[in-house]
């Protein structure tokens, strides 16, 4: 996540927000799959829909669409009425340099770009399997041919036609991949388009020095959006509704610096230059007390603490095709899961910044329940499970210790410590676990190819729907798909086929819970943790409310003179 910041005090009078972010790829919405890039793209580009900033549970509201889409009775056609008078920002790519009105054709063009293999976006999955004729169009590789599923009915009416119902479409249309770009800019700037953003967003780029500094100013043609007047209980008390009804954005200028070292962040934060800072492991103890509150020193400075669930799940996955850990009997996998003390893991490795996981669906998403994890740490049960699996005392028939290998992404100290933690716990039931840390590219290759025995992995939700997590267990998604454990359960697949086309309802949530129970019983994952984001912000940084799925929040922020 980018860290909001504020540089020298004398510069604050002009309502400038200084931000600190990380490695950023450029301003092409089609290449905005990472957090840092999505945040920058969201300052200048917009899409049909966005998340409500303050409301929870997460809710989608129209942005460039006039209202939420009209959905046909069969769930196959989504009709969007576009807001009139929304203009692209002025840019030399337009005749006379004057930005023109956004039309439905712009969305058709942008959506086609997203699935165009020549563009090579890693967000093409949003449409490619769901939109009518999208896959066939992409295979033909003819950019000018129409896609049957994207139809500009008139200048202000867009239809998206689906091959089969896909209720998650409304979530995915909030993602920066789907934001609208003008064809003129793409053609005018060519390969350099990613350095010349031309959107409709709240800000326009003034200058960009790569790997150092980005500067934005208020986009004068930004179409009137106002600060929300609806939140959740507690928002008014914490001042989050104080600016209700005010025109956005609230800040005139944004300057973003790319600060690499966390130590430098921290010095700037303590010096009052940075408005907010995420907390990493090494600095956690400096800022947070053992009972997970803010330290007295930081309290004295008026600094505030926020804790937000991250909508992601970390787990140890078993390759279900592996002769040892795979197969129908879950006993060995259950032994593995029950041998690992999740609470201790959170304490020792993550300073309690993470919480023990009890379901593949993280908290805050429909389908998550508070039911206790069936394989919660219990050494005696773990020993019993491993004996029942045919490895009493962790020994095979020949009396040799059971040896398992686990691939892990990256080779940092954190990963190695994690590997040692798991090895120690497995040793208690006689299993010899060999962690194999490796480069991320190699890890992905092994995962896609199903060339591993056990893996350590995490899944960060793309949108707040349990389907996004349950698809990791869907049979047809097996390797090289996202079902990296090759879990196969016909009953589960039948239910997945049902929920994948269902709209949000208590019935669907009940099915989610039923599917989770199946997964927990078969144990293709040993559940580990749910990350919590801990961060700090200064009293003069206003209207900050973290949203794990939205990157378009800078327009709501405010910096008070200080």
């Amino acid at each position: 996540m980018a860290l909001a910041g504020c540089a020298p005090k004398q510069e604050n009078k002009d309502r400038t927000l200084y931000l600190i972010g990380g490695d950023f790829r450029g301003f092409d919405p089609m290449d905005s799959g990472d957090t840092e890039t999505a945040e920058e793209v969201c300052r200048v580009y917009e899409g049909l829909l966005e998340y409500s900033y303050l409301e929870r549970p997460y809710k989608v509201i129209p942005r460039l669409a006039e209202s939420l889409p009209e959905i046909s009775a069969d769930g196959l056609t989504y009709t969007f009425r576009l807001k009139k008078g929304v203009r692209f920002m002025d840019d030399p790519c337009f005749p006379g340099g004057k930005g023109r009105e956004v039309t439905a054709k712009d969305f058709v063009y942008s959506f086609k770009r997203l699935i165009d293999p020549k563009v090579g976006s890693d967000g093409d999955w949003i449409f490619i399997h769901h939109v009518l004729g999208a896959k066939e169009w992409a295979e033909k590789r003819d950019s000018e041919a129409p896609v049957p599923g994207f139809v500009a009915v008139d200048d202000h009416t867009l239809q998206v036609k689906l091959a089969k119902p896909y209720p998650q479409l409304v979530w995915t249309l909030t993602m920066s991949f789907t934001f609208v770009v003008p064809r003129e800019a793409v053609e005018f700037y060519g390969k350099d388009f990613r350095s010349h953003p031309v959107g409709t967003g709240p800000y326009r780029l003034v200058s960009w020095r790569r790997r150092y500094r980005l500067e934005y100013e208020r986009n004068p043609s930004f179409s009137g959006q106002r600060y929300p007047d609806v939140g959740v209980p507690g928002d008014r008390e914490t001042g989050l509704l104080a600016d209700a009804g005010k025109p956005l954005p609230l800040i005139d200028r944004i300057v973003m610096y790319d600060v690499e070292e966390y130590y430098t962040f921290w010095q700037m934060f303590l010096g009052g230059q940075i408005a907010a800072a995420g907390l990493n492991k090494d600095y956690f103890k400096k800022a947070i007390t053992p009972d997970l509150g803010l330290s007295d020193e930081l309290k004295r400075r008026g600094i505030r603490l926020y804790k937000t669930p991250e909508a992601s799940t970390w787990y140890i996955g078993f390759n279900m095709n592996d002769a040892v850990v795979g197969g129908k009997s879950p006993k060995l996998r259950q032994a593995f899961a029950s041998a690992i003390d999740q609470k201790k893991l959170c304490e020792v490795i993550y300073n309690n910044r993470y919480t023990p996981a009890n379901s593949p669906i993280p908290p805050g998403i429909a389908g998550h329940t508070d039911k206790p994890y069936p394989c919660i740490y219990n050494l005696e049960r773990a020993k019993q499970f491993i004996a029942e699996a045919g490895y009493p005392g962790g020994r095979d028939k020949n009396g040799n210790p059971l040896r398992l290998t686990m691939i892990m992404p990256g080779a940092s100290t954190d990963v190695r410590q994690l590997g040692e933690f798991f090895t120690d716990h497995l040793r208690a039931i006689g299993v010899e676990l060999v962690p194999q840390p490796m480069s991320f590219a190699e890890y992905l290759r092994r995962e896609h190819d199903g060339n591993y025995q056990v893996l350590y992995a995490g899944w960060i939700g793309d949108y707040p729907d349990a389907e996004n997590f349950l698809k990791l267990f869907y049979g047809p998604n097996k390797c090289p798909g996202v079902n990296a454990t090759n879990y196969q359960n016909p009953e589960f697949d039948k239910l997945y086929d049902r929920i994948a086309v269902m709209n949000d309802s208590p019935e669907r949530t009940a099915l989610y819970e039923q599917m989770v129970d199946m997964v927990l019983a078969d144990c293709p994952w040993a559940l580990m943790t749910y990350p919590l984001t801990y961060g700090l912000y200064q009293p003069w940084f206003q209207n900050y409310k973290r949203h794990p799925f939205s990157y378009a929040s800078c327009k709501y922020h405010r910096v008070l003179p200080h």
Binding site: I128, R210, G271, E442
Partner: protein, 318 residues
């Protein structure tokens, strides 16, 4: 001399190839097919296969022996070497920028730190070494040596952290971070000098002392030449060869920048780019910087040899 230079030129080939092979082994062979990373977490096999094909990751690593001999060099490593020799450094897999542009952009920030750092370090180290040699075996000499050893024993990271905390954070004398003007360079340069001068002082002091025990110094002293004149006119001149070695060999590092200083102080130079490229697996950036660093290092070595011949007429390059 010309024959020597031609021979040195040929010696570049195995050195550069060796360095590139090691880098290639680390990042491509052990690091794995970058297509998986480029394609993203929701990638289909078809997409991974397409990226693999488009970028040539499906070719053999070192030689295409299946189509021997016509397409022997239609392989990943020979292609990489060919591209580098043509000056085609590829493009960054993260930002899609041309690596050549990245390198051009990063040189000035790197040099704006490393050049003043290098010059200040050199002047200060030689001055202190002469001082120590002049007052050899006195408390001044011993104190200087002790301080130098202490200085070189402390990690640069400690200097950076202490300076950022006190000089920039608590006392506000310098900016904590940034590259907005000369004032932003003072602290990183100062830290670079403090961290590096100790080792240089010890090195130059040893050289100067070595010379001071030579016969010609004793003769000069017997003839009544003043100690200052002996030191500056005779000893310093004769100590020039090792000093030149040290100076010229350091020149490539002016270009490649300082990894730590650039990262901590936000200098958008080549050192920082390399630090960012490694965890991202941004191979083309890594290969280009490694290749250029190697070439500059070999060039610096050759220049050192030429400088020897210039500084000492007894040396002949054959």
């Amino acid at each position: 001399m010309i024959a020597y230079l031609i021979r040195r030129l040929f010696s570049v080939i195995p050195i550069a190839l060796g360095v590139l092979i090691l880098t290639f082994l680390l990042f491509r062979v052990i690091g794995g097919n970058p297509a998986y990373r480029i394609a993203g977490k929701n990638a289909t096999p078809a997409k991974i296969a397409q990226i693999t094909k488009d970028r040539g990751y499906d070719k053999p690593y070192f030689g295409n022996f299946q189509n021997f001999p016509r397409q022997l060099f239609d392989a990943q490593f020979p292609r990489l070497v060919g591209n580098l020799l043509r000056g085609d450094f590829g493009e960054s897999i993260t930002t899609k920028e041309k690596v050549r542009d990245i390198l051009v952009e990063g040189v000035l920030p790197s040099v704006s730190v490393t050049l003043p750092l290098f010059l200040l370090n050199l002047m200060l180290a030689i001055a202190l070494a002469l001082l120590a040699a002049y007052y050899r075996n006195t408390w001044a000499d011993r104190s200087l040596v002790v301080v130098s050893v202490m200085g070189m024993s402390i990690s640069s990271l400690v200097y950076i952290m202490v300076a950022q905390y006190w000089l920039a954070g608590e006392w506000g004398i310098f900016p904590v971070w940034g590259f907005e003007g000369p004032q932003y360079l003072v602290l990183p340069v100062l830290i670079g000098v403090v961290a590096g001068v100790g080792g240089s002082v010890r090195f130059y002091r040893t050289i100067v002392l070595d010379e001071m025990y030579q016969d010609y110094v004793r003769t000069a002293r017997a003839k009544g030449v003043s100690p200052q004149r002996i030191l500056f006119s005779h000893v310093l001149r004769n100590a020039l060869i090792p000093i030149l070695t040290n100076v010229i060999i350091a020149l490539p590092f002016l270009y490649t920048g300082s990894l730590l200083l650039e990262s901590f102080f936000g200098i958008p130079g080549l050192g920082r780019m390399l630090v960012m490229a490694i965890p991202n697996g941004d191979e083309d950036v890594i290969y280009a910087e490694t290749f250029l660093g190697t070439m500059l290092f070999v060039l610096a070595n050759t220049l050192t040899d030429i400088a020897y011949a210039w500084a000492d007429p007894r040396i002949r390059l054959k």
